[in-house]
Symmetry: C2
Subunit: 222 residues, 2 copies
């Protein structure tokens, strides 16, 4: 449907749109893709024509519903391939991005659904970023995995991305009930495990645990 270049533009624009309340500017896109503003303008025309973007000249651009759906589909492919590359081919998490940039453009939807199944429907990629499902729903779109938080940030436990009894029991025992407040005291670089303050207790949790704990900012509504 869309060419590889179009897909790359759309993906970049979608990522940028999370910043400035959804409005994205020509120069930012050019910067993000290491190309010129002139080239970007041409592409904005084309993607607008296909109603993937809503574009008014000189006024920036927004991703449409249709565009978002396609962008999420590409991101889904990218992140599923990243999981495959780390889990099956034993690449490190810092090696997979470039390869996934190519693999994400392979068109077969059936292929990606079967890959998703093989990988056991993962919710996060090796970097802790959420993997959209087939319909473009992002698990905990407004939530942030604990594994993504930095030192000194605090928040509330908002959900889990893993429902195995053993995991839930572990959370229960360590004090990670829903709604509880926590603070990140330290992140160990070598294995991305964390020291967390919960109430008066300080506990150590692995990266694998942290990425399955969804959090939200304590002042967020909803």
């Amino acid at each position: 449907m869309a060419t590889q270049t179009e897909e790359n533009y759309l993906k970049a624009i979608y990522h940028l749109s999370s910043e400035n309340n959804g409005l994205v500017y020509t120069n930012d896109i050019a910067g993000s893709l290491s190309t010129t503003a002139a080239s970007v303008t041409d592409m904005l025309r084309k993607l607008s024509e296909k109603s993937l973007l809503k574009y008014e000249r000189y006024k920036g651009v927004r991703v449409t519903k249709k565009g978002e759906k396609l962008a999420l589909n590409i991101i889904r492919k990218h992140r599923l391939w990243e999981v495959f590359l780390t889990e099956y081919l034993k690449f490190r998490w810092d090696e997979v991005h470039t390869m996934a940039e190519e693999l994400e453009h392979v068109s077969s939807e059936e292929l990606i659904e079967r890959l998703d199944k093989l990988l056991n429907h993962p919710k996060f990629d090796p970097h802790g970023d959420p993997i959209p499902d087939v319909n473009g729903n992002v698990a905990g779109a407004n939530f942030i995995a604990l594994s993504l938080l930095e030192v000194n940030s605090s928040g509330l436990v908002a959900g889990v991305a893993e429902h195995a009894p053993e995991f839930l029991q572990y959370l229960e025992k360590t004090g990670f009930q829903l709604g509880v407040r926590f603070k990140v005291l330290e992140v160990h670089a070598f294995d991305r495990s964390m020291e967390i303050q919960i109430g008066k207790k300080q506990i150590h949790i692995s990266y694998d645990i942290a990425k399955n704990i969804l959090t939200r900012n304590q002042h967020d509504k909803n």
Copy 2:
């Protein structure tokens, strides 16, 4: 290095070159790629420029050593991905070709070597076609897997593509010694198993067995 289109041309030309003692003609290439002779001419120029082909206008074209090496590398990727698609994603052998056409252009060599390892260094793809190794050596280039022979063809057992003791013992027991003469009596379409005449015995062998038995024509030298 080479663009996706260039790779597709080279691969098509390489495949055609096995027919007419290595000489390939513009029209055949155009036919094989469903394009026009004019487009082919342009591309022959370009691939010649890169010394992947030896081209003289109006006189046909040959693949150079360098071109062959690249072609075999692409074919290697294609066939390894086919094995992955059938073994891990459970696609049928008749479904994998189109997907592999896209995957074969993914550039990472490291990725393909790890895939090869994951798949246990397969010698044949799901269609029984041999998979070239990293150096472009094709296992039994002049041999033909028994699984590829048609009804009524006969030949000599020339080698094996599998060296597991159990397999070799099985061959021993059923009479498939090296150099022995056989004839294909029947091929069952539903599972591609075969009825084979060896000496006075008639035996039934599975596709998995047949694809690991390499044969040659009884009149071939060497």
